[in-house]
Amino acid sequence: MRKKRAASGFIAAIAVIILHFILFPHPLGKELVARPAWAINLPPAESLPPGGRSADPGGEAGRFATFQLGELFGFVSPSGRLLHAERILFRVALSQRGFVNYTRIGSDWVLRDPGGERLFSFAGRGYPLASADGNRVFVVKTDLTGLQEVDGNGEVLWSRDFPSMLASVSVERDHLLAGLLDGALELVDATGAAVFQSVPAGSRIPVILAVAASPDGLHLASVSGIDRQWLIVLGKKGASYAEVSRTVLPAEFRRELRLAFSPDSRYLVLEGDGMAGLYDPASRRLSWIPLGGALAGASFLGTGRAAALLGRAGSTWRLTIAAPPSSVLCGQSFRGKAAFVGSLDGQVLLAVDGRLLRVDVEAM
């Protein structure tokens, strides 16, 4: 009798649980899925005329993304219209606003818009550097001891020399963060004045190997030192910056590393040895994502919900889509001479050899 009552109770409990799931179904979480949106063929760089080849922007004016692949650079629209493609002379200063395609020797440079039309010219014995949005244009002295900013008429706004040679530069809105070979950081404002200086300590040999300023102006990051090598993040405190985290890095580099904040300033991507580090300033947590090669490019999608990380080992490339701080969503390996990853309309722009494609990462 007691056994029969227990069995009935068990069956009733199971029935209640089943009824609960029927009446109050729990929705499954959405998954991020990557799928190709379009792919176009790129013209061979050597087939292009001097000054490149341009197309009518149609209704997509102002929404272009830049790409650079081997000797070729250009602008492409969200729908896959190739607005401009041009062969790189020596190097190109590429930005959303336009580009300076420059020769190895020279001192007279021209900023052109994404359609190849002249915006303004400027002079300086050094190479041009443009901010990502193209609203700020600089000339870096040939010996890397200083730089100057020019305005939209090509006039010099300011010129600044640094105590040591430049090792790394990050330009974000009104600020330029310079990392120097003597191990010092200088934050320079829009007038060319140094508004913050710091010398990260804790290494046998001081040197700056990478710098990044966050777009919101709240954080500065650097990789510094040899024996030990540190990722140091500074947070804004009043008119100055103070150290908020310091992490010893597992591998030591003796060259410049890739280091950049996401456009929404929420994450920092960092080059590691066969890995990419994703640092979250809010939690002060650094996570490593294996790439199977050196970090060759990175871009953030949308508002930082995912990062596209391009790894390279010889002619083998691997595109990894990761959800910060540490989840790998998907990855795809491919072979090629040259590859590029960027962002277009919040999605992934990928170029491999002669092909340019857009990969949309969507929640489904």
């Binding site: 050094g126 190479y127 105590p163 040679m165 090792a167 070979l181 410049e256 890739r258």
Partner: protein, 294 residues
């Protein structure tokens, strides 16, 4: 020991600004030593912060045993900004001394090596970056004083029998420039003495006029100005000759003349003596007698 030697050298250089430094504590980085550009030369908006050595493609060695601090390969290395120095290597030598080797030939630096002895090859002299011919640009840094030091003050001396040249002496008063010749009449006021001064070398076809080591200006037997290219450092965002406030645009005019110094021109006769000296101790002087009008 080396730190002590360096501490002796630099103040000594400041005290004896017009004497070539006798102490040689570095080694030449190449076997064939053809100096094609000197320290402090005019580069339009900046001083040349090292020396250039030509002589064709050849192995480059460190000036002292050292450790790799930073390297960049022009065609394959990542960089956040354009680098006019091309492929280059920075070595740390302890005691706050660093040396930089620029325009190295691509693909010749051993990416795996971090420690260099004097006989180890850093790379091969090349033509990378903002360069108009195969050469090595060598920079020596004294990190303690945050200065670029004239490498010729620390390298073994080179034979050089050619004295510097002084030409086209002129006087700038306000916006006017008066070419100077002995016996010339000039207006009263304050003026700057300008001159074309360069240091020729028998084995070099010039791209740029090479700077001498020092320039002195005396008026009526009294030294009024001296410029010596010992060291450079940045003060308030400007690179200046150490111990002065003179930036490149203060020392050189737009057309490459040296501003040798400013003088007060009072009515009467004045004797000007302009002296240029190179690192081997060769000296050239130019004397002028001018008459200042009432």
């Amino acid at each position: 020991m080396r730190r002590a030697a360096r501490r002796l050298v630099l103040p000594f250089a400041a005290l004896l600004a017009f004497a070539p430094l006798p102490l040689a504590s570095l080694e030449w980085p190449v076997a064939k030593r053809v100096v094609t550009a000197t320290f402090g030369e005019d580069r339009a908006d900046h001083f040349h912060n090292g020396i250039d050595i030509g002589g064709g493609e050849q192995d480059v060695h460190p000036v002292l045993p050292g450790e790799l601090v930073f390297g960049y390969e022009e065609n394959s290395g990542y960089t956040s900004f354009p680098r006019g120095v091309g492929s280059f290597v920075v070595l740390h030598h302890g005691d706050d001394i660093e040396s930089v080797y620029c325009h190295l030939k691509n693909g010749t630096v051993d990416a795996g090596r971090t420690v260099y002895g004097l006989s180890d090859r850093i790379g091969i002299m090349g033509d990378t970056g903002y360069s108009e011919g195969t050469h090595l640009h060598v920079i020596v840094r004294d990190e303690e004083s945050a200065s670029y030091v004239n490498p010729l003050s620390l390298l073994p001396p080179l034979a050089d029998a050619e004295a510097p040249v002084i030409r086209r002496v002129a006087l700038a008063i306000g916006d006017r420039i008066h070419s100077l010749a002995s016996g010339q009449l000039v207006p009263a006021g304050r003026g700057a003495v300008l001159a074309e001064i360069y240091d020729p070398r028998v084995d070099v076809k010039f791209l740029w006029p090479m700077a001498p080591y020092s320039v002195r200006l005396s008026v009526d037997g009294k030294e009024v100005s001296k410029i010596s290219f010992d060291a450079l450092h940045a003060v308030a965002g400007r690179t200046v000759l150490r111990g002065t406030r003179l930036a490149a645009t203060d020392v050189y005019t737009a057309d490459g003349l040296v501003r040798c110094g400013e003088i007060d021109l009072r009515p009467g006769t004045s004797h000007l003596l302009l002296t240029a000296r190179d690192f081997a101790g060769n000296e050239t002087s130019r004397e002028l007698t001018i008459t200042v009008r009432d």
